[in-house]
Amino acid sequence: MDASTAGGMTLAERILARAAGRDRVAAGEFVVAEIDLALMHDIFAAQVFDLLGEAGVEAVFDPDKTVIVIDHLVPAPSAAAADIHHRIRQHVSRQGIRAFYDAGEGICHQLLPEQGHVRPGMLIVGTDSHTTTYGALGAAGTGIGTSDMVYALATGRLWFRVPETIRFELTGELAPAVSWKDVILHLAGTFGADAAQYRSMEFGGPAIGGADMASRLTVSNMAVEMGAKFGLFPADEITDAYLRDQGGPGSDAFGPDPDAHYEALHEISLSALAPQVAMPHEVDRVAPVDDVAGLAIDQAFIGSCTNGRIEDLRAAAAVLHGHHVARGVRLLVAPASRAVLQEAMSEGVLASLVDAGAVVLAPGCGPCFGGHGGLLGPKERCIGTHNRNFIGRMGSSDAEIYLASPATVAASALAGHIADPRDLEVALAR
């Protein structure tokens, strides 16, 4: 569809127009755009560097626009993983890449915002589907594969189809014990895992003024679970304050044009929302937690690029403090970064978690993607704060994964079964 040559632009169109050196672009167009930041993690980095060499490319287009994070195989669960890490370190050193985060520093999608690499308006590509996370700061982040990354690192450019945009106008206020994880699960359940395929999701409305940066990162992170290319929030005073807190310059407001063209606009009130869970084996099989409360669990997982931030650990600790997880339940906690772990230590959050029986894992991705460090056996059931519950995702194909907020996962760990954090005392007494 030709989205007209007049009228305003969505956030996605504004960013792609700027990156393509154009006054304006419209949904459906193909553009070649300059990359502001390229991210690779340890699953793909060594291979991409090798392919670059095979293509005869000696140096990446800009080592200061390249970020490398070792986060998936941390600490190295095998000799092969350790060897891959070794090769990555050699490549990083040879390429002169300064933004390199070695094993234990954290998960890429936490580190890039936390360490000040992400600015509103940027176009960011990463060899990871959850690169949409940076939309929380008004940056167009999207996942690509290794061949596209080789091309991007060689040339600094990549082709993009300008996506149509679906606008989510959010109103109302969240009830106590309900979080923005519940909001994005609710959106996935309502609209479906395919609803935003090839499209940009744009979040707005008065309710986003109540969403801190951690909450926005959670929402943008899971935009890809609805198929989205980008999951964009405008940059506002919350963005400005976050950027200053990270020690960088603040940001002017950056949003869509008021007369932007949207493929669809959904207005959703959050006031009546209950805690949500995604049920096996699709992220869009979503129900209020009460529908599945009482299902026994074997493992509870708090962490991942979706919900491993200090705000998430605080929410879990608030539920767990002074209690102990139910007999037979394994509670795993993986802080999203070293900085998160340090904050959790200094605030006493870590003590609350460990006293409650949590096993604290290294900052990283291990159990979430089924790599290592907390996998599931046949017939086991896990409830976690992560982003995918696909069949076989965390080990056995006969295991079940439920996705929920940190408060719901913590309440379930205490109860020994899926539990509504609002009914915690009832659940414990049962």
């Binding site: 699953i43 594969g145 596209d148 080789v150 091309y151 198929g227 699709e282 995918r388 069949i391």
Partner: protein
């Protein structure tokens, strides 16, 4: 362009086929000759051994959803799959397929119209899909010329080599 037309035998799959089944994580760093033996094994164990060069994969909605792993597309290409036609394709899978030179197309209705073993003809340039037991003829979404250009070049790495040498 004749290179945009594919005729072959159908292998049909359902909705939301994820990268976790197209390229299971436990073989993530294995060579393609190992990886391709496990493609879709948890859904149709006969596929990886029975698929022949030129066969066509037909699928439902959201084919290739999940991670950004390019091996999902690369594995299918290594098995000789000529083309993937689905009700819809996950964005990154579609992008990766083009990047590795695996032809793909979106065609609503294709999942209903075809079943395993049918003959199918797919025209990327016009979007036309035809064949099947009932002689179906469907109009899908022609693959944009920009993507067909990359496919014709053999993928993004081949494009890069042609630009750097």
């Amino acid at each position: 362009m004749p290179a945009d037309v594919f005729r072959g035998r159908v292998w049909r799959f359902g909705h939301d086929i994820s990268t976790d089944v197209l390229s299971p994580g436990q073989y993530a760093v294995d060579p393609v000759d190992v990886r391709k033996r496990h493609v879709l094994e948890s859904i149709n164990p006969a596929f990886a051994t029975g698929v022949e060069a030129g066969d066509v994969v037909v699928a439902g909605r959201n084919f290739g959803c999940g991670s950004s792993r390019e091996t999902a597309a690369e594995n299918l290409k290594a098995l000789g799959v000529a083309c993937v036609v689905a009700e819809s394709l996950a964005r990154i899978f579609m992008r990766n397929a083009v990047a590795v030179g695996l032809p793909v197309m979106i065609c609503p209705g294709v999942h209903e119209a075809f079943t395993d073993g049918d003959d199918i003809e797919v025209d990327l340039g016009s979007g036309r899909v035809s064949g099947g037991a009932h002689g179906s003829s469907l109009l899908g979404e022609a693959l944009p010329e920009e993507m067909r250009t990359i496919l014709a070049a053999g993928g993004m790495l081949a494009m890069l080599r042609s630009q750097t040498h």
